[in-house]
Symmetry: C2
Subunit: 621 residues, 2 copies
């Protein structure tokens, strides 16, 4: 076996993009990892994943994102790619790696200062120190700014007292907590001299060397989950646990020996978002991992669709199910959109690499990156949930058998829409960024502030930017027309949203915003759709070979027109498409399915999922 | 604990409908059954389910559908309701019960004659004989008419020789096969005197008394599945296994001692569909079970949405997530449609009871019932898959934990869209029935025949039946207008389909039909939508209490308008709704969500899911 080397090399090269070499290296690494044996108990699976994690560390997988002087490669973007590639293998391992090196290691790196780096990073890379990222609380999943855990400085002893004041403040769903974590980066409200300074992070030991919970720390096991059972998620409760002053990761907030607080960032809110911003990598990573799982599911389903036969033609020959239009319509638009999201992901990782991998960037660029990461995470993970479900159904009863891998893919990825930010909340973050774009400068307005701002500042600022007439002509396969269509939709939806929100007053701001929530989500969604399409177009422009470019043009058409078809009500209702053109969209999607059907195998092969990890009997040739 | 008795009794009574007493009895039975302990291995779960199945049999659960003279209650419709109610408990148990009493027992009853009934039924009811329903083959899931297993009569010994000629003919996914089944009802091509008579069913012993496979029978285990792991699905291969002549379930096809074949039904095709028609109960049952699981998931998610708080209003009070429009939009339209499908299911079961529970009905009525069963099964199971997924996501990280039950519900129900007929295939069956409705009499035309028929007979037969103008006025909450809208859509889609298909000639019939496959599915879907709405309207008419009727009117509005909103592109594209009205649909859905939000708890409580089976911590008060 080994990596599939037949097929379209240009396509593979283009999909692999800037980190192609790292991708190939990770494919080889995956090739020597072991899949968890069927029927492992939860504890055995956890044990297996930890062993594989050690194998990964030994193979040099964990170095990418860390600074060179602490044993890393200094390749920030590469760390996301390395994570994403693990998505072709056991997703529990991918997530465990993400917890250890991305979240835990990443927090120490981003929020800590030299002493922390010196002390911890090499151990983290080499897995001599396993740790948790303890942010989420039982009562506060999405609203992190209102976390209840406290870290109170005691100047008499020079220590912080970490405490869980109530059951809602219990740290929940924390990876690495139930079994393996020795320490945790705990997010808590920092209090010194009776004053609150907002959420900060501290390194808190949670286990004794023998693995038992440290005094004052209560560790619970989240138990069985839908999937990802190789990851030991747990709950942490702190009963006035004391840690030295040095435990505070103090890049954005320092406490002197006498308890004096200082920070390079003014304002609790702004500081909080600055700290959170350094965690944007997690969202980009989840988007990437979701895409890997989607590629694997599509590889299985397309291979099955090519060989599985049902019913006979009039001449008696049985028909491969992928020859049926209904089957093509399930799989091929999803395949096309996976291409689109692949290229959008590449663009996003490159931007992440530029912003965080190099010198400090300006706030504006960081905000935009955060917004795009939030959008890509939401769209890519929903795409994964939906596509993997579709693949399961498209493989019929065989798709329900564990041996065919789709059940595990479905179960493991299902939480991706929730963790690293609930998708619905993330899209609202994107929308907020877009609304903010109506202003000249940035701030940390909350939802209410934004509604108020819009109410007072933006009256009359709304204009129709694209002449609608320009959209009614044009061929549906004309890329310029498609881009105009997406851009116009985005602008129009946003304009309409602003119009609705500006009616909000101080008293009814919540109601007004809440009543417009579907509109808010749609504004974000249409924005992401436009960004994704632009990334696809840019990728085709990069394609060195005209045959492959021609193929990609059709994949892009299918992606676009399937998107338009799903949103046809909007385009019709807003006079963007005539009735006749709307009908032609559907028949064009059907035609593109027929055109691309013979290329389906080639298109999934180019994803380069290592064949060692495609063990499904239905996917064998 | 016990059955929740607070809440709206009128609503409960209306939902429980005709078989209310049986439903209450089954709720009580469920109350004393044991849930499988967390973390059971597959074998332990199977063992547990078998024990619970015996408890069910002892409690009298299994008698409903069987004839009184063989120990049954003679309540055909009641057997479906009894199955459906098990969907509030462990779905593995529900499916195992369905395999044993519905499929296996039902086949013996429907396809066998007196001697078979006398010999088997009582043992089946009392679980002294466990059996399989061995229809599906590895190579032929949906196209059952082309099964490859053979049953060849040998007049010299008076035996049938049952054989699996190739690997595609292996019986696959067969419940009760891997562990418990002693016999199997095997569907095979019947051959006698060198002549083929189409698919028939025979009772074939597959295990020795000690549980080992009988000589000539190879039994494999399908192994781990996404869910339903308490059901022992397996594969059966027959190597010229001999069974006596009496093994043939010969109601629709008899073989005399000398090998002479006789049948009360003329024609292989018609005979096959007559035999298959008796199995319609399985589809109705799966639809019912899917709805039970959906009700359970909604009960959990709504209770969670009422207590879980995220973010704060300007005044500092934290907001229950169900107060957010986006959350309401996820759950409440799904809740409304669950009401609609509940009433449609009740109507369908009543019709099933009338057609199969009493005297023989005419073919026309049977065909219509089959078509409606196929449609309801497809729509209800897709609704279940989608709604349970939505509930999982709406409960965030908590929804991913096994203790909150949603993962199991999702995993167990996921195959419902596939088994007892793949939904995509079933909807094509519905469409075929609708096309057949263009003719005066019935036949067993296959897809090609239908296309040919349409091509030659129907030119010019298409008319627009509803004046479109009549739709443009009317209030969106006016029920008569809604019904007209649904009826008009159904007629228009079907007319358009006929127009497309009549262009098919003998040579391109497959292509024409395949290119119209999305149109075919849409025709079926819109037909089912209309039937479901009519059932909802009829239920409101039955409601004795005006307050409850008023509540149901709004639930019905939400069901209808959410459906219209999803299909808005069609209504706009076909001039059925003006742009202004289309916009009012969305704001009306939002308003209905707000109106129904305070009643959400009452609406799920009325489902009457026994609280013993709502163990999710997030659903406790």
């Amino acid at each position: 076996m080994g990596v599939n080397t037949t097929g379209n090399d240009t396509l593979r090269t283009l999909l692999d993009g800037r980190w192609a070499e790292l991708r190939e290296r990770t494919r080889k690494r995956l090739g020597v990892l072991e899949a968890p044996a069927p029927g492992l108990s939860r504890e055995e699976h956890r044990e297996h994943v930890l062993r594989q994690l050690r194998a990964l560390a030994s193979s040099g997988h964990s170095t990418a994102g860390f600074p060179v002087r602490h044993g890393g490669d200094g390749d920030f973007g590469g760390s996301v790619v390395a994570f994403e590639m693990l998505g072709f293998g056991d997703l529990s391992l991918m997530v465990k790696a993400g917890v250890q090196w991305g979240l835990f290691g990443g927090a120490v790196q981003a929020l800590g200062t030299d002493a922390h780096h010196e002390r911890y990073l090499r151990e983290i890379i080499e897995l001599d120190l396993l740790g948790c990222f303890a942010m989420t609380e039982s009562g506060h999943g999405s609203d992190v700014q209102r976390l209840n855990t406290t870290a109170t400085y005691d100047p008499d002893t020079g220590e912080f007292v970490v405490n869980t004041p109530n059951v809602h403040a219990r740290k929940d769903y924390i990876g690495n907590a139930a079994r393996d974590g020795q320490v945790a980066v705990v997010f808590a409200q920092l209090i010194t001299g009776g004053e609150e300074h907002g959420v900060h992070a501290l390194v808190v030991p949670i286990r004794e060397p023998d693995g038992s919970a440290r005094a004052g720390v209560t560790i619970e096991d989240c138990g069985e989950k839908a999937g990802l059972n190789g990851v030991d998620n747990g709950r942490l409760t702190f009963d006035n646990v004391r840690v030295p002053r040095e435990a505070l990761l103090d890049r954005y907030g320092h406490v002197a020996e006498d308890g004096t607080y200082s920070s390079p960032v003014e304002g609790t809110g702004k500081r909080f978002f600055t700290m959170l911003g350094t965690l944007v990598r997690g969202r980009v990573s989840v988007a990437g991992g979701a895409l890997s799982a989607t590629k694997k599911a599509l590889t299985i389903a397309v291979r099955h669709g090519e060989t599985r036969k049902q019913f006979a033609k009039p001449d008696g020959t049985e028909v491969p199910v992928l020859d049926y239009l209904a089957h093509q319509r399930r799989l091929l638009p999803a395949l096309a959109t996976t291409y689109a999201l692949n290229f959008a992901q590449e663009a996003l990782v490159s931007e992440l690499h530029a912003v965080f991998g190099g010198d400090e960037s300006d706030d504006q660029r960081k905000r935009e990156l955060e917004s795009q990461a939030a959008g890509q995470k939401a769209v890519a993970t929903w795409h994964a949930t939906r596509t993997i479900q579709t693949c399961r159904e498209a493989c019929g009863g065989a798709g329900y058998l564990a041996e065919n891998q789709l059940p595990q893919l479905k179960a493991d990825t299902d939480v991706f829409t929730t963790f690293e930010g609930d998708n619905t909340v993330l899209l609202q973050l994107v929308a907020k960024g877009l609304l903010t774009g109506y202003r000249d400068h940035l701030g940390d307005l909350d939802t209410l502030g934004m509604a108020r701002f819009v109410a007072t500042q933006l009256v009359g600022a709304v204009i129709e930017r694209t002449p609608v007439r320009a959209l009614l002509g044009g061929d549906v396969r004309d890329r310029a027309w498609q881009l105009k269509l997406f851009t116009d939709r985005e602008e129009h939806v946003l304009d309409g949203l602003v119009r609705r929100l500006r009616n909000a007053g101080e008293d009814d701001a919540f109601e007004v915003f809440n009543n417009a929530q579907d509109h808010v989500l749609r504004a974000a969604r249409t924005h992401v759709d436009r960004i994704v399409l632009e990334a696809f177009v840019a990728a085709i422009d990069r394609c060195p070979d005209s045959d492959t470019a021609e193929l990609l043009e059709r994949v892009c058409d299918l992606h676009v027109l399937a998107n338009v078809e799903e949103d046809l009500a909007w385009f019709l209702g807003h006079g963007r498409l005539t009735t006749a053109k709307a009908k032609s969209i559907t028949s064009e999607v059907n035609s593109l399915c027929a055109e691309l059907r013979p290329r389906a195998a080639e298109l999934v092969e180019a994803f380069g999922v290592p064949m060692e990890w495609i063990t499904a009997p239905i996917a064998q040739r």
